[in-house]
Symmetry: C2
Subunit: 416 residues, 2 copies
């Protein structure tokens, strides 16, 4: 559909890709099923030990993809034994054919893993509206099941296999203790620019060897998502396929903890949140055409929810994002974005900072504001925009990237 | 603030600029006050006959400009005798200085017009956050008041004087009858790309010689706005200064009509709506970087409000707008935009057309869909995207433009 020309690696890509440790209970294999791409892996098969529990959060789109519908239903019955992710075709907006495709995919994976279809979780990313020929998984998944690996090379291959327009693979790992027992969390993700032929959908998968009941797992994931992936935006567009799942293999031998609020989980909770935030930031840093990583901090709002809506209004404003691309400390556009959020705000109490430079104060330009100092901040690859609404104690922090001609080129290129 | 380099005239500009007839009770003068621009008019002074009534709709921004605050207050007392519009400085986010500036501007204009300050209406567009030196109006407005003109050349000059990044002046005129008496409506507007230094704010002013009470005028304007300016978007950003006003000089001698719903006003109502729609479309056609004029039609939604939100979600989607810029019949992105609107929608009932080509039907690609035919539609300068939600009878129609690298260049250019 798109000309699919190569895009250079994001200048915001991390210096090094982390080595992920093996995770007891997780086996990884990738394959080339030729779903859309030639000469690259496009299938990730991940086996999960018996007793693995799963949790998930999914797109809020009213038009979700067939795999999203499948995963939501599969979470109704406890247990997870396999994860199948393909790139190249999102199996979205494919009607009855799409439903048939996930059923067939789950059946093939269940045979390969020796489990029930409802223990198989499925995610697809890539072109939408094109039927996915699930028969291409026949043989491929069984072969994958026979040669799974657990080491850092396997994790790196997994992150590679789920990429679409991503310019670098996204991996993160953390360690934590639960009641004195050491546990590990590994995560992989792909972004960003939301749905489009040959383009991205946000997919992220986290895995831990901790023993955690499904309800606890879901509570921890939902809370962590609110502080991470729900705080990142590239263009404000929402994929029909966005999927974030957390799997716990229970191999670490920690005592079961029945309540997500149990203080024995505080360390794990912090480590999980931290990992999810790192993955979410990597998605923004690989936003289509991104040249600057932008943190938007809002304080003094009526409440946290209001602060979040204001922060997202700023982070999604094309005028704010193009100004940052132009290294223009254009606080007037920030005022505009605050004003259009529709949240309580008082022009005459508003203060705005770029980095540590306060450019606006109490409803007017800061008299002490130095254009040179502000411009220096804007030339950095990481830019923080901070707003004090001056009304209450609501706070929020979100991440995004700038809006450049690269975004237009990637998404607006003529069909080949 | 911006490098302010010349931008070519929009390819969507109308072939000819209409000649506006003189309007009894309206006198026009423009001047160079040197507020920001050199070598061009930047002030519009418009005298209004005694007995003129005014109505207005303004930005929903929580951080409105000082002139918007002034106009809202001035509407509280009936009567309008003068309109002062300046380009180059929006007098927005200027705190107490901004309030002082509008008070001084109104005082100077009131002396020039021989009226009360509260009969003066003020609009400003241009750079924000910079104090406006209203002393620059001293002498200028009195001089304007002494040399007002009424003909088509004066109307053309008025439309020119309020331009900022507009690439062409925006004028429209209509005639109608009220109870057998012929009346005229003239309108001018400027856009588009919302607020930014040296950039646009949406300002529009309509004038009629009809005799209409203030309440009726406000009702007609509010209703017309819902069908016109509230149905146009360029980038989803909202100016702190957006202003639309309607003035009625009562010179036409039509009998007063006390109720906006009076059938004797149906012809006037239709003509006003038609004029407002034309002006709103001109704003979209001059959207920053615009190369295509896009009409989004939504039908089958739960209700009209839901249809409007879905239509705006499509019209504001960067992925939809870049696809149209790329002449890519990318209906998957339309599905995405419908899904993210958060309104009732059923993937499997959705149908999508580009022009007359149905590309998606009942939750999947239309089997009869011809890529060639769709591509031909996308190559036209005017593109219509039509969506049938398939749930109810709610409908909406909105207008926008494509998102091109021109938008990025205009809004993201490095400071000079």
């Amino acid at each position: 559909m798109s000309s699919g020309k190569a895009v250079p690696v994001s200048p915001l890509a991390p210096e090094t890709i982390p080595d992920l440790p093996a995770l007891d209970g997780v086996g990884i294999a990738t394959a080339q099923a030729g779903i859309r791409y030639a000469g690259r892996t496009d299938v990730l098969y991940l086996s999960l030990a018996e007793g693995t529990q799963a949790a998930g959060v999914f797109t809020r789109s009213k038009c979700p993809s067939a795999p999203v519908d499948w995963c939501r239903a599969a979470l109704e019955s406890p247990g997870a034994r396999a994860l199948v992710v393909n790139s190249g075709n999102a199996n979205a907006f494919t009607g009855a054919l799409g439903r048939d495709a996930v059923v067939l995919t789950a059946a093939i994976a269940a045979r390969a893993a020796g489990c029930r279809p409802e223990d198989v979780f499925i995610a697809s990313t890539g072109v939408i509206g094109e039927p996915l020929d699930a028969n291409k998984f026949e043989g491929v998944l069984a072969d994958c099941a026979g040669r799974t690996e657990a080491g850092s090379a396997a994790w790196a291959a997994a992150a590679q296999a789920i990429m679409t327009t991503d310019t670098f693979p996204k991996l993160a790992t953390r360690r934590a203790e639960i009641d004195g027992v050491s546990v590990t969390i590994n995560g992989i993700a792909k972004g960003a620019g939301m749905i489009a032929p040959d383009m991205a959908t946000m997919l992220a998968f986290a895995f831990t060897d901790a023993a955690l009941p499904q309800a606890v797992l879901q509570a921890l994931l939902s809370a962590g998502t609110a502080r991470s992936f729900n705080c990142v935006t590239v263009d404000g567009d929402t994929s029909t396929s966005d999927t974030l799942m957390l799997f716990a293999t229970a191999k670490a031998g920690n005592p079961a903890v029945a309540d997500a609020a149990d203080p024995r989980l505080s360390g794990f909770k912090a480590a999980l949140d931290d990992l999810l935030i790192e993955l979410a930031q990597l998605v923004a840093k690989d936003g289509e055409g991104a040249r600057k990583f932008v943190t938007v901090e809002v304080g003094g709002a009526a409440d946290d929810a209001s602060a979040h809506r204001i922060a997202m209004s700023i982070a999604n404003s094309p005028l704010v994002k193009t100004a940052i691309a132009g290294e223009d400390a254009n606080w007037g556009r920030v005022v505009m974005a605050v004003g259009k959020a529709g949240e309580p705000a008082d022009r005459d109490r508003l203060s705005i900072w770029f980095g540590d430079i306060r450019v606006a104060h109490q409803g007017a330009r800061d008299p002490a504001y130095s254009e040179e100092a502000a411009s220096a901040v804007m030339r950095e690859p990481d830019v923080t925009v901070r707003v004090d609404i001056g009304l209450g104690d609501g706070t929020a922090r979100v991440w995004t990237c700038d809006l450049t001609s690269g975004y237009i080129a990637i998404n607006g290129d003529y069909r080949s």
